[in-house]
């Protein structure tokens, strides 16, 4: 399997570390909403089909990448830098 790293290009999956479900939102650090924290830490969407997920190019540029990948076929549909994405919808500094 190849993961397209926006910086390094297509690289073998062995260079990457999987960081899981990219649909989770970390609550505001001072939030005391237990349910929201639980959801962030423990609950996963786990779809059969397109999955938005985070990979780190740990054996390469070490950037985190948001990848949309089909879990039925392993075909990668899209990838982008996690940092760019989170910048775009920047939340309040926390």
């Amino acid at each position: 399997m190849l993961i397209p790293c926006p910086y390094c290009g297509q690289r073998d999956v062995s260079e990457f570390t999987y960081q899981g479900d990219g649909n989770r939102t970390r609550p505001n650090p001072s939030s005391t909403d237990r349910a929201a924290w639980n959801a962030y830490v423990y609950d996963r969407t786990n779809p059969a089909g397109e999955h938005r997920e985070i990979w780190q190019h740990s054996g390469g540029c070490r950037a985190h990448i948001v990848v949309v990948r089909n879990t039925l076929t392993h075909a990668v549909v899209a990838s982008s830098m996690a940092r760019a994405r989170t910048r775009a919808d920047r939340r309040e500094p926390t």
Binding site: D12, V13, Y18, D21, Y42, T45, A48, R69, T71, H74
Partner: protein
């Protein structure tokens, strides 16, 4: 239906084997059952079996979207053991081991449970202490476990590299002699036949497409073979848990589905008489009665429903194979396959009522599902029949994650690929 025995084999042989009957019926679905078990894998079938046998509930349907036993019961590496660290797990798996020990008789089906031992290798003094901790924990709950010295290991498994010059020399091991291997498909077929003989309907090629509800309550399922109603609907769908729960309106679970690859070599004369694991990586190997070395390692490490893994993991496992068994370099890998594992957030399973009324859930087996087949079915049947957890699975709740009551055998937290 006829009992299986040496005598019945001889009798049939003289009749040209023409009188054997199907191991289980292929009935049409009834409109209503007392219990529907979704999932015709090992756990679903054993659940149905024990519902009938232990609780007298035989008006049960097991529904399976493909062929019976097509899930992990048919694609694992067949190891059976109870040598877990934490007592919540080891007590449960030890109970399973006890059921395994009599399973062939219980089912009148030879599941070929061979108690040839499972040996974990230690490579550092620290690891040896960790194994002592685990072994002591097992002994305290009544399970068997002994330490082995390198010399004893070398005698038992001459193929192992026990030299001090190995990159990670073996300095001892933890042996559970009562552990071993079983013939995986036979377990599914034996439970299917056993459940069928007690009146359970096994419905193959019957895919759940939705849940029937009355208010909040689940009252049945719609399937590719029509609607089927029941007071209780129990899920034992292993890798597909997330998908089926989504049909019930629950779109997030403390579970990720991962692919776990397994491997078999070409058939060899007896090479390895026990099951071994490598302590400096993640690797385990046993030999089937047919002669193939059956082995595996880590998860590929990403969400997948493809039942197909990738090359890096293959290479990793083969490297570990040779680190342990240098003589296997010219032996050839015959086949690889991938199974779906429900990886839970703490590496331990879930057997529980709910999360909706009328629904019962059995999932999150990670690597452990095959060896749990008897006890999982036993305890799940109890939960379904009595609407309360079996004492051995009382800790395997769904809410334990949120409450912080995790059963984290590997201490890895909520990173499923590491469990």
């Amino acid at each position: 239906m006829a009992e299986y025995s040496a005598l019945s084999i001889l009798k049939n042989a003289f009749a040209g084997n023409r009188d054997w009957k199907p191991a289980w019926r292929k009935p049409e679905p009834k409109p209503t059952y007392d219990v529907i078990v979704v999932g015709g894998g090992g756990h679903g079938l054993s659940t149905a079996y024990y519902l009938a046998k232990e609780h007298g509930i035989s008006n049960v349907a097991v529904i399976e979207k493909g062929w019976l036993g097509s899930g992990n019961v048919g694609r694992n590496t067949t190891a059976v053991r109870s040598n877990y660290l934490l007592p919540e797990n080891s007590r449960f798996y030890e109970f399973s081991m006890k059921l395994w020990e009599n399973l062939s008789h219980e089912l009148n089906y030879n599941v070929m449970f061979s108690q040839r031992g499972v040996l974990n290798m230690a490579h550092t003094p620290g690891q040896l202490d960790d194994f002592a901790r685990r072994g002591n924990a097992l002994r305290h709950i009544g399970a068997d476990s002994v330490m082995m010295t390198t010399a004893e290991i070398a005698r038992l498994i001459p193929a192992l590299d026990v030299s001090g010059s190995a990159r990670f020399p073996i300095i001892g091991g933890l042996m559970q002699w009562r552990a071993g291997t079983a013939r995986h498909d036979a377990v599914a077929w034996g439970y299917a036949r056993g459940a069928d003989r007690r009146g359970v309907d096994i419905l193959e090629n019957c895919e759940v497409t939705g849940f029937l509800r009355e208010g909040d309550r689940i009252v049945g399922v719609s399937t590719s073979r029509g609607e089927i109603r029941a007071n209780k609907v129990a899920l034992a769908v292993a890798g597909s848990t997330g998908q089926v729960m989504r049909l019930a309106g629950i779109d997030r679970m403390p579970i990720e589905s991962h692919v776990l690859q397994a491997f078999v070599t070409e058939s060899l004369k007896p090479f390895l008489d026990t099951v071994v694991t490598y302590g400096a990586g993640h690797f385990y190997m046993g030999q089937s009665d047919k002669g193939g070395l059956i082995f595996g390692g880590d998860l590929d490490g990403y969400n997948s429903y493809a039942q197909r893994g990738n090359l890096p993991l293959v290479e990793e496992v083969m490297s570990e194979t040779l680190a342990m068994f240098p003589g296997l370099a010219r032996v050839r890998l015959l086949r690889s396959w991938g199974g779906l594992t429900d990886m839970s957030m703490d590496g331990s399973p879930i057997i529980t009522t709910g999360p909706l009324p009328g629904l019962y859930l059995n999932c999150g087996w990670c690597y452990g599902g095959f060896k749990a087949t008897p006890s999982s079915g036993f305890c799940f049947a109890w939960t379904i029949a009595r609407d309360e957890p079996h004492p051995l699975t009382a800790a395997f709740t769904l809410d334990r994650f949120h409450r912080g009551l995790v059963i984290d055998d590997k201490g890895q937290g909520s990173t499923p690929r590491l469990h």
